[in-house]
């Protein structure tokens, strides 16, 4: 298998084959990231496209120090964030109250049977700002302070968005597994 360093050098020289190789090698994983950050497939495709154009345009800055996979993922997440900002700039007022409180804590925590595709479906159903905060905090590992700057919101909003996201996710996961149990029992 060709070393990533060779592929990158090939891309920097404008080699078409290496450019396509780099894309093929990372497209599936990065497309999953785009899906995870977007509500619909069209938006995910746009993010993937813009993100890859940025990756190719910024390859010269990649220093071969950290993992290349981490580097391209960061670019993709940033692209998703920019997309989110451009789309949601006009809706900065918190609509936290529109989300109903759960009636009770979900009691079923047997999540083991959930597939990645189910998790992806659940995460994508979240309202955009909850999805964004949950992804940045729980998946990418950013702090609330960092997220507040990235999304131009207060730390408090970031925290409350996260806890709302978690509540919704738990409820969905609970109902998902509950439904499946019912189906298997019935």
């Amino acid at each position: 298998m060709t070393e990533i360093k060779d592929i990158i050098n090939g891309c920097l020289k404008g080699n078409r084959r290496d450019q396509e190789l780099l894309y093929r090698r990372h497209a599936a994983k990065l497309y999953a990231v785009c899906l995870q950050y977007s509500g619909n497939d069209e938006e995910a495709r746009d993010i993937l496209q813009e993100g890859f154009i940025k990756i190719f345009g910024n390859l010269v800055h990649y220093k071969h120090e950290g993992s290349f996979e981490g580097w391209v993922r960061r670019i993709m997440v940033n692209t998703a964030l920019e997309k989110y900002r451009s789309k949601h700039l006009l809706h900065r007022v918190d609509d936290i109250d529109q989300i109903p409180e759960p009636d009770a804590e979900p009691d079923n925590e047997d999540y083991a049977g959930l597939q990645a595709v189910d998790l992806m479906g659940i995460i994508r159903e979240l309202p955009p700002k909850y999805r964004m905060v949950f992804n940045l905090f729980a998946i990418e590992g950013y702090s609330h302070k960092e997220i507040s700057k990235m999304m131009n919101i207060s730390e408090g909003t970031s925290k409350s968005n996260l806890s709302r996201a978690r509540v919704i996710l738990q409820r969905r996961v609970g109902s998902f597994t509950g439904l499946r149990k019912q189906l298997s029992n019935g």
Binding site: G57, V60, I139
Partner: protein, 437 residues
């Protein structure tokens, strides 16, 4: 609550960690042309700009030359005199009128006869020693055609507006004109020049423009021979072969030799140095420390893991020299603006440059200590050039040439994506001897 929250985070983090979804094929179809476009517009724009500059200059010099000759041209209205069968007196009248208006200093003049509905077999202007022959009836010759016929003659232009323009050369200049027209179509020249290569950056690629600021272009040299063919009185086409060397000082990088003994990796390239011309990969015998920037030099070895002052390394220099050598094959147009003992030409053209020398070294007491090579360089560069050519005739065939020339590179030295924001150019003052044959 915290544990449960962490659990839901963990569930998603782990569950989605290796999740992959193949994107639709059309995504790559959109990315592919977009990344190709990133470099293209620069090249097209630069080429278009150079062509525009050359075209404008050619036009201006052409206009300038026309104005020079027009300023001495005179119009003689012979409508009344030249009806009927022309006599020798008619011709005299023509030249008498002419003699009053024209100072016979410039070799090239023209007069216009209005309504030249006549045929003159041959007329002789005695006073000004100009001989005209074959003045033809209006309408016979195509417009703007000028023929030099016999040693001294000149021929006429007719037009639908019934005016006949006659270009002629007064006698004292005829020998000179015919002499230069006949001989010396070829010129061969040997030229050398100091060269200075630099580049300006556009756009906001900070990393590249920072590198460009740290590095110091150094005066290098170029030389070769040129062969020119004279297409017309003023235009020549020139080609030749030059060798041009360009130097770039990578300041602030201290180099040490004798590192081979400490190189436990035994790799070929222990250090990588980012330069505005591309990445330099070192050989395994040198150790580098960058004193100016912490992003230029990359390596497994750094000051914390290996202390060069404690090892018995040989200090080489505190800067590196990056050298690039190109073989240049130009295609150049020369336009002679002033044609005297001291000629003045405008020179412009395009060149292809083939990379033939690529080295990075440290100077130690005047000796070169090989450090490595620059990788990823374009092997062929295209450049446009614009210059002034001054030529002083020592004898009839031998001249001294002096040509300040500016070169602008149409593609960058390296194809790195960020490099398209760098626009290399060079300046040289070529001087040498040329021989006409």
């Amino acid at each position: 609550m915290d544990d449960r929250e962490a659990n839901i985070d963990l569930l998603f983090r782990k569950g989605l960690k290796d999740y992959e979804v193949l994107p639709p094929a059309e995504v790559w179809d959109k990315i592919s042309p977009a990344i190709r476009k990133q470099q293209r517009p620069y090249i097209i724009l630069r080429a278009a700009a150079m062509i525009a500059v050359l075209a404008t200059l050619s036009f201006l010099t052409y206009t300038w030359e026309n104005e020079l000759s027009d300023s001495v041209a005179s119009t003689v209205d012979l409508q009344n005199n030249m009806t009927g069968t022309p006599e020798i007196e008619t011709s005299d009248a023509l030249f008498l009128a002419d003699a009053g208006n024209i100072k016979v200093k410039k070799p090239h003049k023209s007069i216009t006869i209005i309504n030249p509905d006549i045929t003159i077999a041959e007329t002789v202007g005695k006073d000004s020693e100009v001989i005209l022959s074959n003045i033809l009836k209006a309408g016979i010759l195509p417009e703007s055609e000028t023929v030099i016929n016999r040693p001294y003659l000149i021929l006429p232009v007719t037009s639908a507006s019934k005016s006949l323009s006659i270009d002629y050369y007064p006698a004292p200049y005829i020998n000179e004109i015919t002499a230069t027209e006949k001989k010396e179509k070829w010129t061969i020249a040997a030229l050398v020049s100091p060269t200075y290569l630099s580049s300006f950056s556009s756009g906001n690629n900070e990393a590249v423009s920072q590198l460009n600021q740290i590095e110091q272009p150094v005066i290098s040299y170029a030389g070769g021979f040129a062969l020119a063919y004279k297409v017309s009185k003023r235009f020549s086409v020139q080609s030749g072969l030059y060798y041009a060397s360009y130097g770039n000082e990578l300041t602030g990088i201290t180099s040490f030799g004798g590192f081979q003994n400490y190189d436990q990796f035994k790799g070929n390239s222990n250090f990588e140095v980012q330069t505005s011309n591309g990445t330099v990969y070192t050989n395994n015998n040198v150790y580098l420390i960058d004193n100016l920037s912490d992003t230029r030099v990359a390596s497994f070895f750094d000051k914390s893991s290996f202390d060069p002052t404690k090892a018995s390394l040989e200090y080489l220099n505190n800067s590196l020299r990056q050298n690039l050598g190109y073989l240049e094959l130009p295609l150049i147009l020369r336009y002679k603006v002033i044609d005297r003992t001291f000629d003045f030409n405008i020179i412009g053209g395009l060149s292809s440059n083939l990379l033939v020398n690529n080295s990075v070294y440290a100077s130690v007491d005047g000796e070169k200590y090989e450090v490595g090579k620059t990788e990823g360089l374009n092997t062929i560069l295209f450049s446009s050039s614009l210059g002034m050519g001054m030529e002083y005739s020592i004898t009839n065939n031998l001249s001294f040439n002096f040509e300040p020339t500016f070169r602008y590179y149409l593609n960058s030295f390296n194809n790195f994506a960020g490099m398209s924001s760098l626009h290399p150019y060079s300046f040289g003052v070529f001087s040498g001897l040329s021989y006409k044959f």
